[in-house]
Structure formats: C-alpha cells, structure tokens
Amino acid sequence: MEPAALRIAVLVLTGVIVALLGVLLGAWWTPFFVGAAFGLIIRRPAVAIPLGTVSGLLAWLFPLAGAQLRYGLGPTSVSLAEIMGFDHQGTLPVVLTLLVGTLLGLTGAWLACAVGMIVRPQPR
C-alpha cells in the first residue's frame, strides 16, 4: 500500500473508532469533531469531507446495527414513526437517525476545511 493511502486508511480507522467510542459513551456529537479533525488534518476537501461523512455515518450505524442484532429494531422503529406522526413508516426513523450522524460528520469536516482554506497560507 502506498504510504499516502496507508496514512488515510489509518486516519479513517482512527476517526471511525474515536467517533464510535464517543457515541457509545453517550457523546453523540463526537462525529462532528472527528469530521472537523479530518478537515484540519487533511488539506484536500475532496478527501476530508467524504471521510468525515463516512465516519459520522458509521459511528451512528454500528450501534444501531448492534441493537438490531441484539434486540431487533422493527417494533421500536415503527413506534418511533408513530410517535413522530409518520404512521407505520418504520424506515423513516432509521433514515433520520443515520442522516443526523452523517450530517454531523459532514458538517464538521466541511466547516474545518472551509476555515482552513481561509486561514492557511495559499500555495503560490
């Protein structure tokens, strides 16, 4: 593996683990900061933003998948949909949940990249 690719793989793995640990400990907002870290460490937004997005998605997806495997989320998902007024549309709470995690990672990375583009010296 190329050193650059290896570096990114380690970064991704670390980021996802940190985000996941944070979420598991109840700090649901961790993906935002992991995404921001990506944005600060990786200078290229085209790399940093997708990485932040994926880490946010995975950090919220894994615990959800774990709950699905342990308990089954069908009745819970339908109940949440009913509570939210979406009738029996049980997929909506799942989508909404994953969307929140994804957006946290995405916006963290995007904001950090955008700030970086302003404050970092521009290449000549």
């Binding site: 979420v23 598991l24 400990l25 109840g26 649901w28 907002w29 935002f32 919220w60 615990p63 959800l64 709950a67 342990r70 308990y71 089954g72 989320l73 009745p75 819970t76 339908v78 109940s79 949440l80 949909a81 009913e82 509570i83 939210m84 007024g85 009738d87 029996h88 709470p93 909404l96 949940t97 929140v100 995690g101 957006l103 946290l104 916006t107 963290g108 995007w110 904001l111 990249c113 955008a114 700030v115 583009m117 302003i118 521009q122």
Partner: protein
C-alpha cells in the same frame, strides 16, 4: 522584469465558509435544540442513549440487580404475559421492590400522573397545558397530598410503605439514567424525571379521586334551573329516580327521615352568570379532570347460591381505556402483606384483588361529594368574604408554573372556609370537595389486604373518605358483603345540588355515620350487586345526591340483578358471561312498547324492514345485530323529538349529550322518558312549544321514522345490512395522546346500558379490569386491556387486548404456581 502576478480575490473560500457556517449552524441547531414538533435530534435519536433504547427496554430476561435500600434479597417473577410476582422477606423490601417494578415498566405514566396532580404539565408540554395546571393548583390536589403526608404519624405502616416505595422508584430512575435507559418519551420530550417522593404517590391517588368524583353537576343544575325554569328542572331532574331501580341496600334503615328536600328555587341572574362562566371553564378542561359519571360493575354470590359451594365475586371497574392501562397486575408477598390483583402505578398497594381469605372489588358510589358556594363579597372589604356573620380574609397561596418554551406563569389561589375559589372573574365561587379532605386511603388499602374476614374488612373501610366506593366482598367461608364506604356530606340547610350561598347557613356540617351508610352483609337472597346505581330506596333518610346527575340510570344494575336473581345456582362461568352481557335492559322495556305503537301504522318499505328486525330481537347489542343499531338510533331520536324543542325554545346553554363533563343529561332525561312512556304517555313534556299537543306514541312514531331515515342516509343499502358494528367501535387511547399508538377503533359490542359497558362512538371507556373469584374452587381470574409495559415496542404493550376483547380471563397465579409456569423470567434483587 515581469510584473508580480495580480492576487485574485478569495471570494470562493469566503462563500464556502459562509455556506459551511450556515449549514453547520442549521445541523447543530436541530441536533441540539427542539425545533417545532421535532425534538432535539441528537439526544433523541442517537443510537446508544436516545429513543432507540426502547428496543433494549422492551426485553425482559433473567437478571440480578442491586438496589439501594433493600434489606434482604427479593425475588421478582414475570409470567409470560408480564404479570409480576414480588416475594420479599420484609414488608419494607416488598414496597421498595414494588416501586422499582412499577417504575421499570411505567415511569413515564407515573410522572405524567404526578405532574397532572401537582400542576406541572406545562413544564414539559408548554402553554397548552397551562389551563389544566392552573385549575389543578386551584383545586388543590398538591395541598391535600402535602397535608396527608404531614398528618401520617411516624409509626404508620403506610408511611413506611410510601417511603420504601419512593426509594424503589428512585432506584430505577438512577439506574435508568446511568444506563441511558430512560423511557423514550423522556428523551423525546427532552427532560429527566425528578426523584419520586411519597407525596407523589398521594398525588396519584388524588388524580384518581378527582377523575372519579369531582363533578360540576351543581353548576349544570343552576343553568338548567335558570333556562328551563324551576318547575321543569325539578320535574325532569328530581332527587329520587323517576324509574324503577334495583338498589342493593333495600333497608330497613336505622334512622327516620330528616328534613325534607326543599323545592328548587329560582337563581338570581348573577348566580346564573357565575355558574355559566365556571361551567364553561370546567367544560374546557381536558377529559379526566372532571368525573364523567360512573360505569363500573361488581357483584357477589354467597356460597349457598354457587355451584362450587364457595362465594363468588366479580368486578369490572369501568374507566378510560388507555395504553398503558391504569392498572399493573402483580402479587405482593411479604411476612405482613399478601395480596394479588391490580395496583395503580405510583401507589404501593393492590387496589382490587384478593388475599388468602378475602376478595374485593369496587365501583364508584356516585354520591354527591362536590358542593359549590357563592361567596359574598363587597367593595368595602377587598380580599374578604362574609361568613358566619363576619368578614373573613381569604387565605392565599401562590404558585409558579414553569412553562416549557415560555415564561413561567403565576397563580394565586384564594381559599375560603369552604375550599378554593375556582372562578377567575365575577362572582367568587368556591368548591367544597371531599377529595380535598385528607384521607389516608393507602393505609385503608393496606389493612384491606391484610384482612381475613368481613369485620376486619369493614373496620378498615371506616377510614376511607373519598372517592366514595361500593366495596364488594366475598370470603373463603362463603360470606358476601357490600359497603359503600366514604364521606356522605350533610348540608345543614339549602339545596346542595345547586351552588349555595357561602355565608354559613348552608355549610357542610358532617357526614352520614358509618353504620348508616349503604351496606349489606349476607343478604337473604344470597346476591349483592352494584353498578353505580343509587344504593338505597327513597325511604333512606339522608340526601346523598340527585337521581339524575350523580347516580347511574340503573339499567346495568337492573340487568345484573335480573341475571343473578334467576332461580338456580351460579358458577364462575356465569360471572364471566355476565361481565360480557350485552343485553340492554332499557331496550327490553321500550322496544315492545314501540312495536305496539307502530302496529297498524302505515310504514315505508325500509321502516317495515326495520320493524321486522326489532321483532324477535333478544335486546343484545352484539356487533352483528341490526336491531341494536335501529334501537340505538330510535332512542336517540326519541330523546331529540321530546326534548330538543324545549332546549331550543328555552335556549338551554348546556348540551344534552356533552362529553367531557359530568353531565350526560340524556342519561337523566332518558329515565324520565322511560317512565313517561310506560306510565304517563300524556306527560306535558311531549307537547313542547312549537310542536303542538302530542303524546308518547306520537313522538315515538316521529322518532322511528327519523331514525330509519338517518340510518338509510348514513349506512345506505337494506336495513338488514345495518349491523351495530358498522356504527359502534371501541378504541384504547395512548396516554400521551399519540394517536398512532392507539389500539383501534375496532368494531365492538355493547352500549352504555349493557353490563359490558361501551358507551360512545367510538367507545373509549369500559371495563378496565375484569376479575372473577370462585372461593369454592379457589380459582382467581382476571385481565385488563393493554399490557404491563408502557413501551410501545414491548410485547407487553398490548398483549392482553385480544383475551380481554373476547371476554376471556387469565388465571391469576400465585407466586409459587407462576414459578413453574412456562416462559417465566426471574429477577433477583439484591441489597
């Protein structure tokens, strides 16, 4: 020399940054803060501590748990249907474990109930609940609960039970918070439950008292008096029931009649305006804060009349059918307390059930426990009222009401000697309500659970004050009894069914002595029954309420009495069948008269077909019965035909069939109509202004034609297709008003007059718990609609509904029997 490259303006990064800030701001805002109907999405939906935890919460498995405050290990078994069996080695541990188990399955429900009582709903749902909170703080459940708690002596067993129970609830709150397992509704509403206190349990008890017997009936009577006139009001809404009823205590009574009931007199305009303003205020409150009239059944059969040779007892209290239900089923075993049955989450005892020797159930007694007083004030004495010949200062209590998403509100409550002033402007009207008197009902229930015979049962009930209940009793020796325990306020002078002057002459002076309240023990015909009917005959020497607006019309009691008094012996199966009896006693009286009236009348094809359906009908309001639909439509039209012209011509400001208050006036008017139809067909009521001179048969014919026309328009097709299930359904309503979590509406049998009570369209009240006990076979059975868990993702959310709907019961196992049942789960609670 080349010139330096011109630096390009960095517009794109700036735009990018602005866009990133905006989008990030929006995402973080909806993640951290509630927006409109959406909760804060981050804490609400995060997969480890958000609402998704209800999936884990829905699982119940074998567990060992450590609870603070336990003295010894406690065993909790759960049957496959969720019934809990708690076995403790000390009484303290039993109540602590009960608190823990209640909170584990019903914490949100418990929190809602205490919030309702203490006027703190606005704190979590916003200003929509402000009127409710303001009213509750005025009425005073919180003040009463605080007084009750302060009056409990340190040696009182119920004080220890309440403290231990609160510890158990708080153990669960602490556990749930540390494990991120709070009920999803807390997460979605974005708040945490406060620690539970003994006063909270007393508030929950107060909620039930209010639901069952705080009435606005005197206000309605005042409005009727003013609009209909004193003559019609006293004639149509009499003190004694106009129809023939089946009181369970036929006398003879110990004391001769006291002062006669006075004739209704005319109200002043100011009094009527005050009553109307207050009535409108109370009518606007959410359902459940004002008693909506009773509808419960219980009865007992002595061993001498039972197939098994042991006494039989049946009980089905009719309440608002909610998900989760008001009940939680359990057995409680400790050295000093053995009881099995149903409890109300938030309270530490079994309310309806049995122990090793006795079984009991209850219905609402319906006597008047709410009295309104118009306080005399004048401008020369601000902040004062005139009472007993002198000006008195109101006592004032102030409360702050936190409001979610808004500014806190403040309410000052003025208290006269009669009680809180609950008008907000105009004539000051205070309310004397028995539910505001400290009443150590939990101690009574503890002693009932410990009673081994009727004497101990009756002695325990001596201290029961409010709400007044008909407590039915059956024991393992074949004895049966029924006692309508509670306060029966006596007014020195005046008309207690109307708002009375507050100057002292009309004050409540006492209550009927305990030995003289309605009661029977081992009656000669070996049966006793109550279904919210007036318990006593007209010769009973005390005023206990008017026939029309406090007591039930009596048709359920009539039907129950009819079935129980048939020759032959009765079995537990007969008890179950009677609990789901759909025979409408009123229909059995009226339909033959209607058919006689219609005989020889020229009818249309549809009307003839409808008559054919009524002929040969067994008067059962079954879902597939066409005659049931026609009867119901006819009776409604008959009431309209008779009374609507009066209501219109006299501009009566109270609807005849209003939900949400105590007064379904058609229940009262129906008794009149029944009586006139049978015995006084020329009554002047049939000749209302504008309709000319008429008799009962004239009104019946017109009503029948209108009923058939209405049904044809509504249901279409041939009358043979007009089954009752097409118009009548039942619905179990989610307690948090989340309609998607309701059960139903589903077609169902019964109506307001049938023992299987199912009034309303859809019906949302009914048998909230059914229990049948056969002491001869030592068989105990029960079921309630719903399930043990408030978690909608739990298999125990609605798992009992089908059994209940089909009229079946589940065996009420002892803890020992449950231990060997299939699918049982065990919790070991350790200190």
């Amino acid at each position: 020399m080349a010139s330096a490259p011109k630096r390009r303006p960095r517009i794109r990064p700036i735009i990018n940054l602005v866009a990133a800030i905006l989008v990030t701001g929006m995402v973080l805002f909806v993640a951290f803060f509630p927006a409109g109907p959406l909760p804060a999405l981050g804490p609400a939906f995060n997969p480890t501590s958000g609402a998704w935890t209800m999936a884990a919460d829905a699982q119940v498995g074998d567990q060992t748990l450590r609870l603070q405050g336990l003295q010894q290990p406690v065993s909790v078994l759960f049957e496959s249907n969720g019934t809990a069996h708690i076995t403790a080695q000390t009484d303290h541990d039993l109540f602590l474990a009960t608190g823990y188990v209640h909170a584990r399955f019903r914490l949100f429900q418990m929190d809602l109930m205490r919030r309702q009582g203490e006027g703190r709903l606005s704190e979590i749902v916003g200003k929509a609940a402000l009127d409710t909170d303001r009213f509750e703080l005025q009425l005073g459940l919180l003040r009463t609960a605080q007084t009750e708690w302060s009056q409990l002596s340190t040696s009182d067993a119920s004080r220890d039970a309440l403290i231990a129970y609160a510890q158990g609830v708080n153990d669960r709150i602490g556990e749930a918070e540390s494990a991120h397992q709070l009920d999803a509704m807390f997460t979605l509403l974005g708040y945490r439950p406060q620690p539970w206190s003994p006063i909270d349990s007393l508030l929950v008890k107060g909620d039930m008292t209010q639901t069952l017997n705080f009435t606005d009936t005197p206000l309605v009577m005042a409005l009727l008096n003013k609009s209909l006139g004193t003559d019609l009001t006293s004639e149509w809404f009499p003190v004694q029931p106009p129809n023939l009823q089946a009181p369970y205590d036929p006398g003879p009574y110990a004391k001769a009649s006291t002062a006669p009931i006075e004739t209704v007199t005319q109200l002043t305009d100011a009094e009527a305006q005050s009553a109307e303003a207050l009535y409108q205020r109370l009518a606007a409150l959410p359902p459940g804060l004002i008693s909506q009239g009773g509808a419960s059944n219980n009865w007992a059969v002595a061993g001498a009349k039972s197939v098994s040779g042991g006494a039989l007892l049946a009980g089905d209290p009719h309440l608002h059918l909610t998900l989760p239900a008001i009940w939680f089923q359990l057995t409680m075993d400790s050295p000093g307390y053995h009881a099995a049955g149903v409890s109300i989450p938030g309270t530490p005892v079994v309310l309806i059930g049995h122990n090793e020797h006795i079984a009991w159930s209850l219905t609402d007694a319906q006597n008047q426990q709410t009295f309104f007083y118009n306080e005399k004030e004048d401008n020369a004495h601000p902040g004062m009222y005139f009472w007993n010949g002198a000006w008195q200062k109101y006592r004032t209590v102030g409360y702050d009401i936190p409001v979610h998403g808004g500014q806190a509100a403040h309410v000052d409550v003025r208290l006269s000697v009669h009680g809180p002033v609950i008008t907000e402007r105009g004539q000051a009207t205070s309310v004397w309500w028995a539910g505001n008197l400290p009443s150590q009902d939990l101690g009574v229930l503890l002693r009932i659970g410990q009673a081994a015979n009727y004497q101990q049962f009756r002695d325990a009930l001596r201290d029961w004050h409010s709400p007044t209940h008909n407590f039915v009793y059956a024991d393992d020796k074949g004895n049966i009894g029924l006692i309508s325990a509670g306060y029966y306020p006596l007014v020195a002078h005046g008309q207690p069914w109307l708002p009375m002057p507050g100057t002292g002459e009309n004050d409540v002076t006492g209550t009927i002595p305990y030995d003289q309240i309605p009661q029977v023990y081992n009656p000669p015909d070996n049966i006793i029954w109550s279904a919210n009917q007036r318990q006593v005959k007209a010769s009973y020497p005390y005023y206990i309420g008017t026939a029309s607006n406090f007591f039930d019309p009596g048709y359920r009691a009539d039907e129950i009495h009819r079935v129980l008094s048939r020759p032959g012996k009765l079995s537990a199966s007969d008890m179950m069948a009677l609990q789901t009896d759909t025979r409408d006693f009123l229909a059995s009286e009226m339909v033959p008269v209607l058919l006689q009236t219609l005989a020889g009348t020229q009818l249309s094809a549809k009307e003839s077909a409808a008559v054919a359906q009524l002929r040969g009908w067994d008067y059962r309001m079954d879902a597939d019965s066409v005659a049931a639909t026609i009867w119901n439509a006819f009776w409604s039209a008959y009431l309209d035909e008779t009374f609507s012209p009066w209501w219109k011509s006299r501009a009566v400001p109270v609807g005849r069939e209003e939900e949400g208050n105590s007064n379904k006036l058609d229940d009262a008017l129906g008794q009149d109509l029944e009586t006139w139809t049978l015995h006084d067909p020329a009554n002047r009521a049939f000749s209302a202004p504008g309709v000319g001179s008429r008799t009962a048969p004239d009104a019946q014919k017109a009503a029948f034609q209108k009923a058939v026309a209405q049904l044809a328009q509504k249901l279409g097709g041939a009358p043979s297709s007009w089954s009752w299930g097409r118009v009548h359904a039942r619905q179990l309503e989610n307690l948090a008003h989340i309609t998607g979590l309701n059960y139903g509406p589903r077609q169902d049998r019964g109506d307001a007059n049938t023992p299987l009570a199912a009034g309303g369209f859809p019906s949302t009240h009914g048998p909230s718990w059914r229990m049948v006990v056969d002491w001869g076979a030592r068989s105990f059975q029960g079921v309630y609609p719903g399930g043990q868990s408030e978690n909608p993702a739990s298999p125990w959310y609605t798992n009992r509904v089908d059994t209940w709907w089909s009229g079946l019961l589940d065996p009420m196992l002892s803890a020992d029997a449950a231990a060997s049942a299939a699918g049982v789960k065990k919790w070991s609670l350790r200190p």
